[in-house]
């Protein structure tokens, strides 16, 4: 009889590094990583919660968002994730990130292009990057890292490396974060 494989689940693989888009100081006591999908309504609902949490616990948190597009159910999720990365390449990641979550029903290319222009992006470069899928490998790397970490739906949060199992409400997340402050 062989012994069972010793496998840990629900542990964040690939810690935050320079490849990630982050908010806060790397020296903050609590590292929060969200895996999300711009077309997922639950992520849309969690977006203002995360924004409020980052506001209320600004000095305690180092936050990163990684892409986990559920491409078989959300037809625009992959495109939206690549759009955020393309905006990020021009130094405007979070503006696009916020716009995408605030306009979840308008994630078609024409609307995203208009948003990119409003944000002040170089539209030619933005369109070229999307057409060439320049950031598809990064989005896929985020996704694979999520799978390997035990992301089990979106949004999934990791607090200091461990999958958070509670609800995505401000009260519950604040309480979970405060345990590490």
């Amino acid at each position: 009889m062989r012994t069972s494989l010793d496998i840990q689940q629900g542990q964040l693989q690939m810690p935050i590094s320079r490849r990630d888009h982050t908010i806060g100081s790397p020296d903050a006591p609590v590292i929060l990583v969200e895996f999300g999908d711009y077309q997922c309504p639950y992520c849309g609902a969690a977006h203002p919660v995360v924004t409020a949490l980052l506001d209320e616990r600004a000095s305690a948190l180092f936050f990163a968002f990684r892409h986990f597009p559920l491409t078989n159910v959300h037809e625009n999720a992959q495109f939206a994730a690549e759009s955020a990365e393309a905006a990020g390449a021009q130094g405007h990641y979070w503006e696009m990130h916020n716009w995408l979550f605030e306009h979840q029903r308008q994630l078609q290319p024409s609307a995203v292009m208009a948003a990119a222009a409003a944000i002040g992006l170089d539209i030619d470069r933005f369109a070229q990057d999307l057409a060439a899928h320049a950031f598809l490998p990064k989005v896929q790397e985020d996704f694979m890292t999520g799978l390997r970490s035990g992301v089990n739906g979106t949004p999934t949060f990791f607090i200091n490396g461990a999958r958070y199992e509670g609800p995505a409400t401000l009260e519950a997340l604040t309480e979970a974060v405060d345990e590490f402050r």
């Binding site: 639950y42 799978l147 089990n152």
Partner: protein, 155 residues
């Protein structure tokens, strides 16, 4: 059903006209995902996740099979709605017999528990996991088990 034991050989309907027998899949890794019921109320359920993760499983040539006590017609509608391309097996009659053979039938409600089994090329259980009620286990354990099996298989 512990690691190292041969997986019980069951034959279940995958559609109104097709059946799948576990022993017929020897030669490649098999992932059995028992789950309580089709149409869980969240948009990102375990089975949808496994479909999205299909390219990752394909790297191991692993065959993923979902198993619940729902019938074939229900499975068909569920697969269609969620875009699931891998087979969903109907453990409908005798009700829950496969789940029982694997020791994961919840006899209070007659539903399969959320349990994962990764079988090696010979149909031996390499890893199994019983998820706490209500927690979607994700795919990390499956991928780590497939990794460990692949590492072992290298001569």
């Amino acid at each position: 059903m512990a690691a190292g034991e041969p997986a019980p050989d069951v034959e279940l309907k995958a559609s109104p006209t097709q059946t799948v027998r576990i022993s017929g899949l020897h030669g490649r890794p098999v992932v059995l995902a028992f789950y309580p019921a089709d149409f869980s109320p969240v948009c990102t359920d375990q089975l949808s996740l496994y479909q999205t993760a299909a390219p990752a499983f394909a790297k191991y040539d692993a065959q993923v099979l979902g198993i619940s006590t729902d019938g074939v017609w229900c499975h068909q509608a569920f697969a269609q709605q969620r875009g699931l391309k891998f087979p969903l097996l109907a453990d409908a009659w005798p009700h829950g017999a496969a789940a029982q053979a694997y020791g994961v039938l919840d006899t209070d409600d007659g539903l399969a528990a959320r349990a994962l089994f990764v079988l090696d090329h010979q149909g031996v259980v390499a890893w199994s996991y019983l998820s706490p009620s209500g927690v979607n286990p994700g795919a990390d354990g499956i991928l780590a088990a497939l990794d460990a099996m692949t590492a072992k298989a290298v001569p």
